[in-house]
């Protein structure tokens, strides 16, 4: 039974919620990151997200400890995405790691294609494409005024001068505009093969089919161009 008076997701079958809870508890990291809760609140005091959202790392740990399946499901769908992943909560005197528990909960949410995860990551998909296809998360050409209006006019100045300012960098690897640094094609392909071999692309398909299709098409064409046999790079990680 949820701790919330106005509990949500009560229409979702209990078995479905229990299945996700079991996946979190079955994660290989569980025994190292969950040691219960003294209810001291140190994690909340240190938590940046707790100051600006209706968010509490302590509630997460307590909910997991009590095996409160309804509250767990609500947290997994809503405030799980508010965590800053700074790990300030590792001050926990009981050596629980709320930030890491939230990482695992997010992974389970993505693996199961929860609509809330899709919604939370909607604006973020282009970043997933960037990192998975190029090996660098952000690129100089992302600095566009319409993407960062709150950073002021200097973003436009950078954007206007981008090509020449990048060439005015002494390290040879930084003369790039579309990548943070010059990653060799061979290295990009090795990274993509890691995603294939570890079942990572299936996670992307669960969360954003459009990005998954573009990613597969672009990268597999590149792999074939470079003489790789795609059949050699199927998922080698067993469930």
């Amino acid at each position: 039974m949820s701790i919330y008076k106005d509990a949500k997701y009560m229409d979702v079958p209990f078995e479905e919620k229990q299945k996700l809870f079991d996946q979190v508890k079955g994660d290989m990291r569980w025994d190292h990151i969950f040691n219960g809760c003294y209810e001291c609140g140190i994690c909340v005091a240190a938590c940046p997200s707790a100051r600006f959202y209706d968010f509490s790392p302590r509630v997460f740990v307590q909910t997991l400890e009590r095996e409160d399946i309804d509250t767990f499901y609500e947290l997994m769908n809503d405030s799980v995405w508010d965590c800053s992943q700074c790990f300030s909560c590792t001050r926990c005197p009981r050596e629980s790691n709320p930030g890491a528990l939230i990482t695992v909960m997010r992974e389970v949410a993505v693996n199961n294609g929860l609509n809330s995860a899709k919604e939370a990551l909607k604006a973020y998909s282009r970043i997933i494409y960037k990192i998975m296809s190029t090996g660098t998360q952000v690129a100089p050409d992302m600095l566009q005024p319409d993407a960062f209006p709150d950073w002021g006019p200097h973003v436009k100045e950078i954007s206007d001068n981008l090509e020449y300012w990048r060439r005015a960098l002494p390290p040879e690897t930084l003369h790039t505009v579309e990548l943070a640094w010059d990653v060799s094609v061979e290295t990009r392909l090795e990274l993509f093969m890691i995603w294939k071999l570890t079942g990572n692309l299936e996670m992307i398909e669960n969360i954003d089919e459009g990005i998954f299709m573009i990613l597969e098409e672009v990268m597999e064409e590149l792999l074939e161009e470079h003489g790789y046999d795609l059949d050699d790079y199927e998922n080698v990680i067993e469930d």
Binding site: P48, A168, L169, T187
Partner: protein, 398 residues
């Protein structure tokens, strides 16, 4: 009613004596790694000589290599604040150290992982080990530029040590790439290199920074995410917080100013800085910048991670528009050290990529802002005219 006497009051931080009275609470990860190596499970890349040993949180010694380093670059630094990486390389060049700036390196992908969770432990460990294996093939020892890569790789290390199943999976993945399961003896952050080099940096200091008041933001993924690798020094804050960056500021001779929210994060948030910046802005300005100004009124704030420089610097523009009392320039310890050693503020430290006004701090450092900017613009004009293709290291120092 009990009375409180002066002698019963808790001691202030600076009056407390820091003494270790118990052994480290954790197993030594190096012993665990070497045990796995002895069983043939993993190959360990040794820290090359010369190295300097420093004390970490639990009193163990950590080796920091001086050269023969493979620079594991940072997406955010190289992409949006490239003077950060440039300053690290410039420092290595000034000391004549052998280093390698690889093209066969990928990001750790942990920014994405902490933002979206669209990955899993096997993939994350395989990405880490692929980079380490490549460093070994290239003949260098990895030094990590990004605080999040540093933190995440420590997590990966713990997972590999404890899970035979994960080791088996990673070995299988790496075998398909023609690579082995290798891991470095130490995960070394570039700021640890700056820290152990601080006395050499001091010897080559050409600009006097004794008139500067500086606040330091220690990066969360450096000292909170797997805590024990971080460097501590009993002579700095009584060993009660990491010595990184603060040690450099004191050695260079600036005034190190404390503030009450030093332990708070910067507000980066991984997902938030890209798609939910109202949170990042609010936290960075209200919990960090405004508190620093109120309590220390610094000329400059220094930090040692990608996201922290970005968030603390970029968040101030909108806060200023709202009439908030903000306006502290932000840079990395590497840029500060390079400036102290005479580096050019634009050709080397590339401070025009930063947001906050820097004319005042540069003039306080004894640098003629207008002259320096026109020198940079001259080089850009040479590129535009086709006289040169790129700015060379020689031109950067000319």
């Amino acid at each position: 009613m009990p009375t409180t006497t002066a002698s019963s009051l808790p001691l202030k931080a600076e009056d407390r004596k820091f003494e270790r009275n118990s052994p480290p609470p954790t197993e030594d990860y190096r012993e665990q790694l070497f045990e796995l190596e002895a069983k043939g499970e993993i190959e360990i890349i040794r820290v090359p000589e010369p190295y300097i040993e420093v004390e970490t949180k639990y009193g163990r010694k950590k080796k920091i290599p001086l050269e023969h380093t493979w620079h594991h670059k940072s997406c955010g630094q190289c992409g949006h604040i490239p003077g950060y990486s440039t300053a690290i390389f410039w420092l290595n060049r000034q000391f004549g150290f052998d280093y390698h700036d690889p093209r066969d390196q990928t990001s750790c992908t942990a920014w994405n992982y902490y933002a979206s969770a669209t990955s899993n432990p096997a993939a994350q460990a395989a990405v880490a080990v692929r980079n380490f294996a490549q460093a070994q093939i290239d003949g260098y020892f990895p030094v990590i530029h990004c605080g999040t890569s540093y933190g995440h790789y420590k997590e990966v290390r713990a997972e590999l040590i404890y899970s035979a199943e994960l080791r088996k999976q990673v070995r299988a993945v790496l075998a398909r790439l023609g690579k082995k399961l290798v891991f470095p003896e130490e995960i070394v952050h570039y700021s640890e290199w700056v820290h152990v080099m601080r006395h050499e940096i001091k010897k080559r200091q050409t600009r006097d920074f004794s008139n500067l008041t500086i606040t330091v933001h220690p990066a969360c993924h450096y000292h909170k995410l797997v805590v024990e690798d971080a460097i501590y020094d009993k002579d700095l804050y009584n060993g009660q917080r990491t010595a990184i960056v603060s040690g450099l500021v004191k050695t260079i001779g600036s005034k190190l100013a404390d503030y009450s929210t030093w332990h708070d994060c910067c507000g980066f948030g991984f997902r938030h800085i890209l798609v939910s910046r109202d949170f990042s802005r609010s936290f960075a300005t209200m919990r960090k910048i405004e508190v620093m100004i109120e309590e220390a009124n610094p000329d400059l704030t220094l930090t040692h991670d990608t996201g922290c420089v970005t968030t603390l610097d970029q968040s101030q523009f909108a806060a200023k528009a709202h009439g908030k009392k903000v306006g502290i320039p932000v840079m990395s310890d590497a840029q500060y050290a390079a400036l102290a050693m005479g580096a050019h503020p634009f050709k080397v430290c590339q401070l025009h990529w930063h947001n906050m006004e820097i004319r005042t701090i540069l003039e306080k450092m004894g640098i003629d802002y207008d002259k320096a900017w026109s020198e940079f613009e001259h080089q850009v004009d040479r590129i535009k005219s086709g006289e040169i293709d790129y700015l060379s290291w020689e031109d950067a120092d000319a």
